[in-house]
């Protein structure tokens, strides 16, 4: 059942049709029975007339009844009288009463009456159902109007169903117009009794969803606070310690550990941010500007390794959520910087071709062997285990978060070798946003 309305219209029209046909059929049968009864009464009357005539010894004229009626009067095996259209031979074979019989190409209703005088048999027959064509005519006249009226009934039912389904439609419209984060309960007063169980179920669902969403949101904020504040304290105290003990190896090692922890925490928070990314905020993003902003933020780290970064290309627009796109850009640039040696080059290129916006991030690092491309994108996977030959430590979350963001944005990621720089080339193709919009 794809549509309640269509279902109701078809079923109601079918029931109306069926009801009418049954009623018409019943009427037809009743009419036939009535006609039969009239025929029988007429035959009885005629038989009585003949009987009276016989008992008065009157000569019976052969044309006493019309052409539609035939009769025979028998006294034992002698035919006393008959109508012109009656056969010479005996017309009956059965007991007294009414019988049907075929003769001369017609159906005859036959009545055998044993007259008042003994040994007299009177047979009267009339053409059976001379009026049945009339009855059929009546039947068609009864049914035909229904066929004309059927579309009108259909339209009426359509309208009534339309009005009847109005609460359902208004509920659907209300749900449709809600924001993705609107978990407020629906007011029960405005809906019909049939919809109340649905409203109750929806309200329960909204309540649970709202709680879950709030917990997620709170977790994000709490986790951020609970991780970042002690980490800040740790870093400041390490800074103070390193001021006092300039060449202490343990302090340097602790600093590196704190930096690694910071990186992992930021990646985990980013992963969480992307995974709860259900609240709209989707807008048109200028990929070039987004890349520019992220590069400005990460530039500090690149200078530590004396790496050069450049941004090429022109403005191009995609639909998406800016925080996610910023995380994606940041992770890809971080990754390129991490695996590119000192004084290396990182190049970010944005551009649009046909209906696609492309983001290309290349570096002059060692790149990735072709057979590892697929696995690079898998969560927690790091080439060569936790300590690969590039001697870089990381949480391994970076690229898998990237692939999550890519999936959410209906984009496509391809890893290859950079033709110009020789290192890893990560190319992401987004569906292009229309320029005319917004």
């Amino acid at each position: 059942m794809t549509s309640i309305r269509r279902f109701l219209i078809i079923v109601i029209l079918s029931v109306v049709c069926l009801g009418n046909f049954i009623a018409a059929l019943q009427g037809y049968r009743d009419s036939l029975a009535a006609i039969d009864r009239i025929e029988e009464q007429q035959l009885e009357e005629k038989a009585h007339t003949l009987s009276t005539l016989v008992s008065h010894q009157t000569n019976i004229p052969s044309h006493i009844f019309g052409d539609d009626t035939l009769f025979q009067v028998w006294q034992q095996a002698v035919l006393l009288a008959k109508s012109q259209n009656a056969p010479e031979a005996s017309f009956y074979s059965q007991d007294a009463g009414f019988h049907l019989r075929s003769y001369n190409g017609n159906q005859w209703l036959l009545y055998r009456y044993e007259g008042q005088k003994p040994d007299i048999d009177i047979i009267v027959a009339a053409k059976h159902r001379v009026y049945s064509s009339l009855t059929e005519d009546v039947l068609i006249r009864t049914i035909l109007p229904i066929i004309w009226v059927l579309p009108i009934i259909g339209l009426l039912v359509w309208g009534i169903v339309h009005i009847g389904l109005k609460p359902l439609r208004s509920l659907a419209a209300k749900l449709d117009s809600r924001g993705a984060n609107d978990f407020s309960v629906l007011k029960k007063g405005r809906y019909t009794r049939e919809l109340l169980p649905i409203i109750s179920a929806l309200n329960g669902l909204f309540g649970r969803l709202g709680d879950a969403f709030e917990r997620e949101r709170r977790f994000s904020a709490d986790a951020a606070h609970e991780f970042r504040t002690p980490l800040s304290a740790l870093k400041i105290n390490l800074h103070n310690l390193s001021k006092e003990q300039k060449d202490n190896q343990t302090v340097q090692s602790l600093k590196r550990t704190a930096d690694r922890m910071e990186h992992s925490i930021e990646q985990l928070l980013a992963l969480h941010e992307v995974s709860i990314d259900i609240d709209g905020c989707v807008g048109k993003i200028n990929l070039r500007e987004a890349a520019q902003d992220v590069i400005v933020e990460v530039y500090d780290q690149l200078t530590l390794k004396s790496q050069t970064i450049e941004l090429m290309g022109t403005d191009c627009f995609i639909h998406g959520r800016l925080p996610s796109i910023a995380i994606l850009l940041r992770n890809l640039i971080d990754n390129a910087s991490k695996y590119t040696p000192e004084k290396g080059v990182i190049r970010v290129t944005v551009g649009s071709r046909a209906d696609q916006a492309t983001l290309l991030i290349e570096d002059s690092g060692p790149g990735v062997p072709e057979e590892e491309y697929e696995r690079v994108l898998n969560r927690f996977y790091r080439i060569g285990g936790d300590q690969n030959k590039s001697n870089v430590r990381g949480s391994g979350l970076g690229l898998s978060i990237v692939s999550d963001i890519v999936r959410v944005h209906n984009a496509n990621i391809v890893i290859s070798r950079s033709l110009e720089l020789g290192g890893l080339a990560v190319k992401i193709s987004f569906p292009l946003a229309e320029r005319e919009e917004v």
Binding site: R228, K235, H239, N240, E262, T303, E310, L311, M312
Partner: protein, 223 residues
């Protein structure tokens, strides 16, 4: 220079106090928002380092209180929630700067120095990178002890880049700064100022980051 730290995490506050005292700042500390309000009157800080997540109130409320009382105090916001909304909200409420946790101490110190220069209370009113010295009180530039005259817009452009040495400034960011100072900027104006500045400065002092903007290397990094 007097700094009031409003931060509820004891370890972080302790570390900050030690680090800032080490840099010769006079430091006071408040844990609660109410405490911070009294401290502002008693201690008369010039800079407040304000954590947004306080136990008794939203840090923004302290910020509102400061702005109602005294607009001269510079406020630097610290927050664990590094999202854009928070940043915009804090700056809208009149914060002078914003730093997301976890931060590098060097970064915090650089921001504090920039703030104290803006307050004109800094012991040194000079920005010095290599052979280039920009005096932000006298508005003069000297390269290798030779004084060079600078038109206003070039001076401003150079000041922004030197104040935040080591960071990249996009053309849009520079334009915005100049615009904030009431300057009208034509298209290609920034390129024009930069090209003029380059003629007066040592070679490669201002670097172009292709497709992004301009930067000046930090003094220690260039050595």
């Amino acid at each position: 220079m007097k700094i009031l730290i409003v931060e509820d995490d004891p370890d972080l506050a302790e570390g900050l106090i030690t680090a800032l005292k080490h840099e010769s700042f006079i430091v006071s500390h408040a844990v609660l928002g109410d405490e911070a309000k009294t401290r502002i009157t008693q201690f008369q800080p010039e800079i407040i380092i304000l954590d947004l997540g306080l136990p008794d109130m939203d840090g923004l409320e302290v910020l509102r209180y400061v702005r109602k009382k005294n607009t001269d105090i510079a406020v630097l916001i610290l927050t664990a929630r590094g999202d854009l909304d928070n940043k915009v909200k804090a700056l809208d409420h009149g914060a002078d700067d914003y730093l997301a946790k976890p931060f590098e101490m060097m970064e915090l110190l650089a921001r504090l120095r920039a703030m104290s220069r803006r307050l004109n209370t800094s012991a040194s009113s000079q920005l010095k990178i290599g052979a280039v010295v920009l005096d932000i009180v006298a508005h003069t530039l000297s390269v290798n002890d030779q004084e060079i005259r600078l038109p206003k817009k070039e001076y401003m452009t150079l000041k922004i880049l030197m104040e935040e040495a080591g960071r990249v400034k996009t053309k849009a960011m520079l334009e915005e700064h100049l615009y904030e100072w009431g300057e009208t900027i034509g298209s290609n104006a920034i390129e024009f100022h930069i090209s003029n500045l380059r003629k007066k400065l040592p070679p490669d002092f201002i670097q172009t980051i292709r497709g992004i903007g301009y930067t000046i290397k930090k003094a220690d990094a260039s050595q």
